[in-house]
């Protein structure tokens, strides 16, 4: 996709990622959100009001994450409300709170309007539990069986790390065996991922070999994670650029708005929905405006700039402390390599 049309502000984001809570019953070592940090989370009424605003702006989809979204007592109510307003919803869950009754209740929204992804970080108990915590493989496996048994379309999401890289093919087979799609997400150095970056980040060799796996498995989803190494043959499989501030933004549990979930730092706070309405923040925030016109100076002469648009600014920022450098894990432009 050419990004010229979306460089100028869209009337609203296409999707928003809404971290609905920081509360979580797990403590994964790569968690983007530093789950467990206490914030004054939006009340049910405030959430409904925000959904009303997003519906009015015709935001197409809300991706709910956390923390563990189902930990909030009002979460199903909120999903119902958003779906009732015609907004597509997607939930990222650790799966531990799913039961037969809950899974059955997802069907009411229809397969085109509701999506769910379950996090799994290893095809073996040993590997997954090393990342997500002891006993979680069994719990996640139970959730996967419930979703598969209910004939719901769902995705298994794996954050690719040096720990689970060797099980990528087994994860693919596991998803396939359970009628699910595998989504591979990129490790970002934010939240606990920042603390554990050095031991979890892929090696250069793994990063260079990963595109071969992707090219051989076109049904593996990557979302917007890996555009810095996405080959031309996968360009039409989804977004091929960082959508932060152009196509999407992130809503924190306390109603603060950021360009993306991986840049929830005070200096990137674009606004607070407790103080301003969402539309005003989206159209007038100087932070979001800066991201829309971010110049990746170090990539200007790179032949792949039109394909990757400079990669992930969040990784660049946390590793190199600059937004104008190349993606530090880029396998083409190595000037910013970590």
């Amino acid at each position: 996709m050419n990004n010229r049309l979306v460089d100028n502000t869209l009337s609203a984001p296409i999707t928003v990622t809404w971290e609905i809570t920081t509360k979580c019953n797990l403590s994964c070592i790569h968690c983007l959100s530093s789950s467990g940090v206490k914030l004054a989370e939006l009340t049910t009424a405030e959430c409904f009001n925000l959904v009303d605003q997003l519906a009015e702006l015709k935001v197409f989809r809300i991706n709910f994450g956390g923390g563990e979204p189902f930990i909030r007592d009002d979460f199903m109510q909120l999903l119902d409300y958003a779906n009732g307003k015609g907004i597509i919803t997607c939930v990222s869950t650790n799966g531990t709170m799913l039961d037969e009754k809950l899974v059955d209740s997802f069907k009411k929204w229809g397969e085109d309007n509701f999506f769910i992804q379950v996090s799994l970080d290893g095809a073996s108990k040993e590997t997954n539990d090393r990342i997500r915590g002891k006993g979680t493989f069994e719990q996640i496996n139970r959730a996967v069986k419930l979703l598969a048994g209910a004939k719901l379309e769902f995705t298994i999401n794996t954050v690719l790390t040096s720990v689970n890289y060797g099980e990528l093919m087994d994860l693919y087979r596991y998803a396939e065996a359970n009628d699910a799609k595998l989504r591979v997400s990129r490790l970002r150095p934010s939240g606990k991922g920042k603390e554990n970056w050095s031991r979890l980040a892929l090696s250069r060799e793994q990063m260079e070999n990963f595109p071969k796996f992707l090219n051989a498995h076109n049904d593996v989803l990557t979302g917007d994670s890996f555009f810095f190494l996405t080959t031309e043959s996968r360009q039409n499989l989804g977004l091929n650029m960082c959508g932060a501030a152009k196509l999407t933004c992130s809503i924190a549990p306390d109603g603060k708005i950021y360009p993306c979930p991986f840049l929830q730092e005070t200096e990137f706070e674009a606004g607070d929905i407790r103080k301003k309405n969402f539309s005003e923040i989206w159209t007038a925030s100087s932070i979001l405006e800066m991201f829309r016109h971010r110049n990746v100076d170090a990539c200007k002469s790179c032949y792949r700039l039109d394909s990757c648009h400079g990669g992930c600014p969040a990784v660049g920022y946390f590793v190199s402390k600059t937004l104008s450098g190349p993606d530090p894990e880029c396998i083409v432009n190595r000037s910013g390599n970590c």
């Binding site: 009337s11 609203a12 296409i14 085109d112 499989l237 977004l239």
Partner: protein
Amino acid sequence: MDSIIKLSPGVRVRKEAFGLIFYDAKKSDITLVRSAEVVLPGHLDGTYTWASLIKLQPAEKQKSVAQLLESLKQKGLVCEQPLS
């Protein structure tokens, strides 16, 4: 034979300054269309037939609108529903 034209399941559309933006939820993919003012989201809500939507346009634009609708159909963003 004429048929109703409407958004495919899981597809949403809205108007932007440059035209239309489609979102395909299953593919997590967007399509940007410079449609000026000729095709609007309301035209794709299932109230128009293929032929009636084209006839709505000025004569000089009917051919290009027909091509646009055909292209949206090829991309799976709109579909046809037989008249009951």
